[in-house]
């Protein structure tokens, strides 16, 4: 059944008549055109659809949209501010952490939530922090390097 819903996404209000069974992933992509959040497995196993809900990384394919109304939702489109890339995005580009780029938005959002929680992580903690996001191209090493460098930069900038 369609109902009127309102979301706060990347600091802006999005509204629509939305079926109560739709997932956050479907609503982001189909209702609001936020295509940077990718649908991989649609079952919570690959992490490609990761977004932040109140700062926490979630698989948006596993979350009903209706339930996250009123919460702060951040997608990859909301990470760069004033046309300036977020340090995590820059370090992903520089380290070669991006190959095909399909897992990238989810991976970056996971890294963001992870570094917000743990700004000075060990390499093991980074590996653990990223293990819910699958990447078939890179073998993860350059992603780990990017997150390590981003952490250093964010600590300096903080």
């Amino acid at each position: 059944m369609k109902q009127s819903m309102s979301f706060k996404i990347n600091g802006m209000i999005f509204e629509g008549e939305i079926d109560h069974r739709r997932t956050l992933l479907e609503v982001l992509r189909e209702n609001f055109g936020l295509l940077g959040t990718h649908k991989g497995c649609d079952e919570g196993q690959c992490g490609a659809c990761t977004v932040l809900v109140n700062g926490k990384a979630v698989n948006s394919c596993l979350v009903l949209a209706a339930g996250v109304q009123g919460k702060e939702i951040t997608t990859i489109e909301g990470l760069a501010r004033d046309e300036k890339l977020h340090p995590i995005q820059e370090e992903f580009i520089n380290a070669g952490a991006i190959q095909c780029g399909f897992c990238t938005p989810g991976m970056i959002m996971t890294a963001k939530a992870f570094l917000d929680r743990n700004p000075d992580p060990t390499e093991d903690e980074i590996r653990n922090g990223l293990c819910g996001n699958l990447c078939r191209c890179t073998g993860y090493f350059q992603i780990i390097e990017a997150v390590t460098k981003a952490a250093e930069r964010l600590r300096k900038e903080a």
Binding site: L34, L35, G36, T37, H38, K39, G40, C41, D42, E43, Q45, C46, A48, T75, I76, E77, L79, A80, L85, Q89, E90, F92, I93, N94, A95, G96, I98, Q99, C100, G101, F102, C103, T104, P105, I108, I126, R127, N128, L130, C131, G132, N133, L134, C135, R136, C137, T138, G139, Y140, F141, Q142, I143, I144
Partner: protein, 773 residues
């Protein structure tokens, strides 16, 4: 003297990095058109059956359903495939279904949910046939025939023989015979297949799809749809991972999007679920191998015999090529005078197999590389020394006719031995720690038959920039970046001065067969280099007139152009381009650099396997160190060190990324991945990423190190060879050797799971009654 480059060899970020990091790169499912319908595909629920009738009437009555199609909606009897001899796939099943998952029908509806609901309303009447799932059973007399055209379910065979193997074995001090097996693994890309098609009233059709070899896919599609190639335009989107034929071939969704668009007059999009992707055909061939090797006491290789049975699944796909490519492992990377190679690919009632990173070679190396380790151990020899002793060298022509024009194999082995501590660690590690090594070689573009050449067009712009159109497909490996680097290097420009097309459009971009066989850097890179040189030559002629100098003496550097001995006369390149294109005379000229590249290699004899298969061969050597937990059987990869002869590093970041990715795909096959099937009906039991386990960031080696060896190939662009697949060739057996060293027992099939390790440890303890290895 070392040549100085402004950007070749540097760690230059990807040209599409910002788009991808900000979520703005449009992938397959991101493309939409006004009035678009959504499609879904119905798959067979039985392994082998005649289709008696498909009743779609109830589905058509569901509100929101706009069309339903079956095999009858496509040209009856028209099949597609990679060559005329092997065309056996239809857009949708026509006469019968051949595996659980085979595509039968498709629905277009106003949304995906309705389309999916409509699938349940389609009624299929089958006449069940007996099915066969094991390739050895399939080849027996009386086995059910999957294709009536192929007796004994034999899809294809390959036989290669040189020297005299029997004599070679007689002359050997040690002869070993072993059997090895590999399993079915999937490409494992994270982006499912997607297609959006628009049939226009003119009869022309456009399809937007995530294809890594768009020209291959569009030709096959036109063939099966009964269209002229020019009537079908394929526009490639960004691609969420490729790795092989799953992204090169057209699939049911591509054909059905087109046909449903024709039927409804509206654009139709079909996006597969991950379950679709894992259930459908396209995966790495499982190999069943008997290998026999003869060696002298000093480690000299004398003879090798291989018998391989490939489990092909229900269709041919590219399988006959797999049989041929796998034979690379016979006389590369080690010299061997006597070889007999017999391989057969059998049809079974399962999803079909195709090409996947390394295409057949990792499987054979898994067997041969482990057997070599076993023989070295038996003779008390060091595998590194034996590998160096038998290594091929630049200038070799192998007995089969492979011509080695650049080879850094010996250097790779020496460097990986030094960097890994192989000499210090081998035989001296504590219990349940092990070390193993490997060598490998891979083609840089395969020359077996068909279209291989690449082309490129470069337009010089009035502001001093260059617009590059390549036919190459960047699937994440970074070809767009490398091609831009090559053009910038030749023309003395910066990376930001180069614009390059982000995808192939078969109506407009230069022709190029696509991304496979590790051909792109070499072929498309050479085409780009030649096209840039063509543009440079034209500009140099004009500059020569202006400077009263010879065109060949004009230097292009830092966006300036000047005569070799007179840099103070330098003119900005944008001024030169404007001078050429905008002067008020009849000889004004827009500068277009154009080139086509192919290497003049005679076709190899497909029947005998004799001749040269590739213009250049990459080489490598890996050392892997593992630790095994004797209580749980869990394996931890402590380190992986590799030396890779890539010819010349064009982009350091990309190069390292390619070998990293290649290794970790292999680690998945070595330790976790296995497409498991029900033994009674062959259906896939683990069609999701929870049960089909790709490696995660937690699973990868604790440490990696890459040594990039530059052998400077005489024909490669700036000397470059391939880097993305060769690294996959050795890892499986380096790992196998390391685990055998740690456990003291050999593993003959994949993946090496904790259960298998525990069983082996128990067996070992039963034998020796001791705790240590």
């Amino acid at each position: 003297m070392k040549e100085e480059f402004s950007n070749i060899g540097k760690a230059i970020p990807k040209v599409d990095g910002v788009l991808k990091a900000t979520g703005k790169a449009a992938f397959g499912a991101d493309t939409s058109l006004p009035g678009m319908l959504h499609g879904k595909i119905l798959r067979s629920t039985v392994a082998h059956a005649k289709i008696l009738n498909i009743d779609v009437s109830a589905a058509l009555q569901l509100p929101g359903v706009k069309a339903v199609i079956t095999g009858k909606d496509f040209p009856w009897g028209t099949k597609f495939g990679f060559s005329s001899q092997y065309r056996d796939q239809a857009p949708l099943a026509q006469d019968k279904v051949r595996y659980i998952g085979d595509e039968l029908a498709a629905v277009a509806a106003v949304d995906e949910d309705i389309a999916e609901e409509a699938l349940d309303l389609i009624k299929v009447d089958y006449e069940i046939l007996s099915a066969v799932f094991d390739p050895f059973e399939a080849m027996k007399e009386g086995a059910p025939l999957i294709h009536e055209t192929n007796p004994n379910n034999i899809c294809a065979e390959a036989h290669i023989e040189f020297g005299d193997v029997e004599k070679g074995f007689r002359e050997s001090d040690l002869v070993r015979e072993d059997e090895f097996h590999t399993q079915a693994v999937k490409h494992g890309f994270i982006e499912p297949h997607a297609a959006l098609a628009l049939w226009e009233p003119s009869g022309n059709v456009t399809i937007w799809a995530n294809k890594q070899s768009p020209y291959v896919a569009s030709r096959k599609m036109a063939m099966a749809l009964g269209l002229k190639p020019s009537q079908l335009r394929l526009v490639q989107t960004y691609i969420g991972g490729g790795f092989g034929s799953a992204r090169s071939d057209p699939h049911a969704l591509d054909f059905c999007a087109v046909m449903l668009s024709k039927k409804t007059g509206r654009p139709v999009k079909i996006v597969y679920t991950m379950e679709d992707v894992l259930v459908m055909g396209e995966m790495r061939h499982p190999f069943h191998m008997k290998v026999k090797t003869g060696m002298m006491k000093d480690g000299t290789l004398k003879a090798m015999q291989i018998y391989a049975v490939l489990d092909g699944g229900a269709f041919t796909s590219i399988g006959p090529i797999t049989l041929g490519l796998a034979a690379l492992s016979t006389d590369l990377p080690l010299r061997i005078p006597n070889v007999k190679y017999d391989a057969v690919r059998a049809f079974t009632n399962k999803g079909h197999c195709g090409s996947l990173r390394g295409h057949g070679v990792p499987q054979i190396r898994w067997a041969l590389g482990q057997q070599l380790d076993m023989m070295c151990n038996e003779l008390g020899l060091d595998m590194a020394e034996v590998s160096i002793k038998n290594a091929v060298h630049t200038g070799d022509i192998t007995p089969r006719g492979l011509k080695i024009q650049s080879c850094g194999l010996t250097e790779c082995i020496e460097k990986v031995v030094a960097a890994s501590g192989w000499k210090e660690k081998r035989g001296k590690l504590p219990p349940y720690r092990g070390i193993g090594m490997s060598t490998g070689s891979y083609y840089t573009g395969v020359r077996i038959s068909g279209h291989n050449s690449a082309s490129c067009i470069i337009r010089m712009n009035e502001d001093g920039t260059a617009s590059v159109q390549t036919g190459a497909t960047d699937i994440g490996q970074g070809s767009s970046t490398v091609i831009a680097q090559i053009v910038a290097e030749v023309l003395g420009l910066r990376m930001q001065d180069i614009a390059i097309n982000s995808g192939v459009d078969t109506d407009f971009t230069p022709l190029d067969p696509g991304t496979y066989g590790s051909r792109v850097t070499f072929y498309s890179g050479n085409a780009a280099k030649l096209a840039a040189e063509d543009a440079k030559r034209q500009l140099a002629e004009i500059a020569g007139n202006l400077f009263e100098a010879k065109p060949e003496d004009i230097i292009f550097m830092n966006r300036k152009v000047y005569p070799e001995n007179n840099p103070e006369k330098a003119m900005k390149i944008d001024a030169l381009i404007r001078h050429a294109g905008q002067k008020m005379s009849t000889d004004n000229k827009t500068i277009w650099g154009r080139a086509n590249y192919d290497y003049d290699l005679p076709y190899m004899d497909f029947k005998t396997g004799k001749g040269n298969a590739s213009v250049a061969y990459a080489f490598g050597a890996d050392v892997v160190e593992v630790e095994v937990d004797p209580d749980t059987g869990k394996i931890t990869v402590l380190s992986s060190v590799g030396a890779h002869d890539v010819g010349k590093v064009l982009n350091l970041t990309n190069c390292v990324g390619q070998v990293n990715g290649s290794w970790i795909m292999c680690q998945g096959q070595a330790m976790f991945e296995h497409l498991i099937r029900d033994s009674a009906d062959g259906h896939v039991l683990n069609a999701n990423f929870m049960d089909y386990k790709l490696p995660t960031a937690m699973d990868i080696p604790r440490k990696v190190e890459h040594i990039l060896v530059e052998s400077i190939d005489p024909n490669g662009p700036f000397g470059a060879k391939e880097a993305g697949e060769g690294a996959s060739v050795g890892w499986l057996h380096a790992f196998g050797n390391a685990v055998a060293d740690a456990v003291g027992e050999r593993f003959y099939d994949l993946p090496i799971t904790p259960e298998k390790v525990l069983r082996a440890i128990k067996n070992k303890q039963g034998e020796t009654g001791a705790q240590s290895k």
